[in-house]
């Protein structure tokens, strides 16, 4: 049976189904439904909800909850995610699993409360200090948000790494019928041999991120982390492809923008234009393979994103700049319409004919 829920609630329910039993967060629009939902749902399933005094405190509460062995989650929107970066760096360094959601809004600064995709760099390139990686998932619909949120807890436990759900204000606020399917793990879940729960019957455990001596210990530590990131890169690549085989023009978009772009791609096909689309679902690791493949056959690419041009850099890297990549996007809470995308596609296709 499908039920009608807002995106923020869908994400919460998926977390609960996946066994998340600790949530800490701080109110910020457009994700307020998340702490609101968790405040009553979490105690109902025997978990703990804490309204933190700040996003800094919330992410550090996850540091403790994850160390204690719980599946745990926090959520926020752009300015609040900036505050969490300190904790994210530590959690990544300590290799603790947790799930973080960013329902992006317009920036920089306090920005506005319209949806945005301007935190892409922060999500996939870093944001906190030090060389680290987050697994970043970009859901496009609410059913996908439901599934990916459950999967996020599995990836976090499997790789002992934080997973970031990179959503946006539209995804969080829109309502859509969703089938609340039961949770089933999608990867192996290793035994949590790092948990701090008192040293009864074992040696005391330490979770730390300081490596002073010997001098190169931190270099070695970094090598181990990089080896893990390489492993994740080689194993995890999720994407959706639409009519790319014969496409002359490939539209690249992720998240809610991809959903809007899909309509434009369909319209283009109906109008006889050879247009396809690649939608990365994992934003890190970035699915390079479909782009490399498409770059051999397609003539050009169009990137659509709700920012001034961040995701486009990964598309250019993945295609090794072999084909021209044009851009349709703006920051600050601008939304593309299917008509605007179709118009851009048409112009690019006409230009191809003229060339």
């Amino acid at each position: 049976m499908k039920i009608l829920l807002k995106g923020n609630e869908v994400m919460c329910e998926a977390a609960i189904q996946a066994g998340c039993r600790f949530f800490a967060g701080y109110p910020i629009t457009p994700q307020n439904e998340v702490p609101e939902y968790m405040s009553h749902r979490m105690p109902a399933v025997g978990g703990a909800f804490v309204q933190a005094e700040s996003e800094i405190a919330a992410i550090n509460m996850l540091f403790g909850a994850s160390a204690a062995g719980a599946r745990c989650m926090t959520s926020s929107s752009s300015p609040g995610i900036s505050l969490k970066q300190e904790g994210i760096s530590y959690i990544t360094a300590a290799e603790l699993p947790c799930v973080i959601a960013n329902m992006q809004r317009g920036g920089p600064g306090l920005g506005n409360i319209r949806a945005s995709q301007a935190d892409y760099w922060q999500a996939v390139k870093g944001g906190g200090h030090g060389d680290y990686r987050l697994i970043v998932l970009g859901p496009s619909t609410l059913p996908e948000l439901y599934t990916l949120t459950m999967n996020a807890f599995d990836y976090a436990d499997h790789y002992r790494n934080p997973v970031l759900i990179l959503g946006d204000g539209i995804l969080g606020q829109m309502a859509e019928p969703v089938e609340l399917t039961p949770y089933a793990p999608v990867v192996d879940l290793p035994e949590k041999d790092f948990v701090l729960d008192g040293c009864a019957g074992r040696k005391p455990r330490v979770i730390k991120t300081l490596y002073l001596r010997p001098a190169l210990e931190l270099v070695h530590r970094n090598e181990l982390l990089q080896a893990k990131y390489d492993k994740i890169s080689s194993e995890l690549s999720l994407f959706e492809e639409i009519e790319t085989a014969d496409a002359e023009l490939i539209v690249a978009a992720y998240g809610i923008t991809a959903r809007i772009a899909k309509g434009a791609v369909r319209t283009a096909r109906r109008n006889g234009l050879k247009v396809g689309m690649i939608r990365p679902i994992t934003l890190w690791p970035f699915p390079e393979e479909p782009f490399m493949r498409a770059a051999r056959t397609a003539e050009k690419f169009l990137v659509v994103e709700m920012s001034n041009g961040q995701f486009i850099e990964d598309v250019k890297l993945a295609t090794a700049c072999r084909r021209p990549v044009e851009f349709l996007g703006k920051g600050g809470g601008w939304y593309p319409t299917p008509e605007a995308i179709f118009e851009k596609i048409s112009t690019m296709c006409e230009k191809s004919l003229a060339d």
């Binding site: 509460m61 996850l62 745990c72 008192g198 730390k208």
Partner: protein
């Protein structure tokens, strides 16, 4: 009577300076944990600062936190594992400067944890900069002319500040600068752990401690500084007891 190492303390060479109070406070906490028989269900949180290497000394589970965040980390641990004993061990910069927000809110939520707050009126590990608890007129590397009332403001008094919060259970300020004070400090630390075992809520013990190295004093002069200067500004005693 034999003077033995508590089981909760590991046999290791100290990295603390001569005359530093951390070793005494470590021992008191370890003795209390031994005495209460809770070592195998205790999780400690290490701060950033001189006590960051807490795990080199304590024979129990330890998590090292970001600067000032131990109360938040302890909250996460304790909410997930309410039957375990969770303590924070923090210096003045950690607890009363960068982590003031976490300290106040964790205390006010009445989290059932034990906070050990070592106040030595200076930033030790970074080399003697001004702390939130540095005394007026006290010279440090970032207040070379002495802390001024109008420029840096007066020292922050943590027990007095937290005493105004209804959510707090127990607050006591003690010292480790005399044998008599140290015995009292042990009793206070014991009570702060017993409160947690009995589910009574947030307890904090502030320990006035010596940092002769960064005070540019000898160990004996360091003891005198606590006894004659710090105790005047930070009076010892129980500031709250709802237990």
């Amino acid at each position: 009577m034999e003077f033995e190492r508590p089981t909760t303390l590991l046999e290791t060479r100290t990295h603390y300076c001569p005359g530093c109070g951390h070793g005494i406070v470590h021992r008191l906490v370890a003795e209390v944990i031994d005495e209460l028989g809770i070592r195998e269900r205790t999780i400690g949180t290490a701060p950033v600062g001189c006590a960051v290497l807490l795990y080199d000394y304590f024979n129990c589970d330890i998590i090292e936190c970001a600067h000032g965040r131990p109360p938040a980390v302890a909250t996460g641990l304790k909410r997930v594992l309410p039957d375990r004993i969770v303590f924070t061990y923090q210096g003045d910069g950690d607890l009363a400067a960068i982590g003031t927000s976490e300290t106040i809110h964790t205390a006010n939520r009445g989290e059932n944890i034990t906070a050990i707050f070592v106040n030595n009126a200076v930033y030790g590990m970074t080399g003697g900069q001004m702390a939130p608890t540095t005394l007026l007129g006290q010279s440090t590397t970032t207040s070379p002319d002495g802390r001024g009332l109008n420029h840096e403001g007066p020292p922050l008094k943590v027990c007095e500040l937290l005493a105004s919060l209804d959510g707090v259970t127990y607050l006591e300020r003690v010292a480790v600068s005399t044998a008599k004070d140290t015995i009292k400090a042990r009793k206070a630390i014991r009570k702060a752990f017993v409160n947690q075992i009995e589910g009574k809520g947030y307890s904090l013990v502030e320990v006035l401690s010596m940092c002769p190295t960064d005070w540019k004093l000898s160990p004996q002069q360091g003891v005198d500084f606590v006894n004659h200067q710090m105790k005047k500004v930070f009076p010892l005693g129980v500031y709250k007891d709802r237990s």
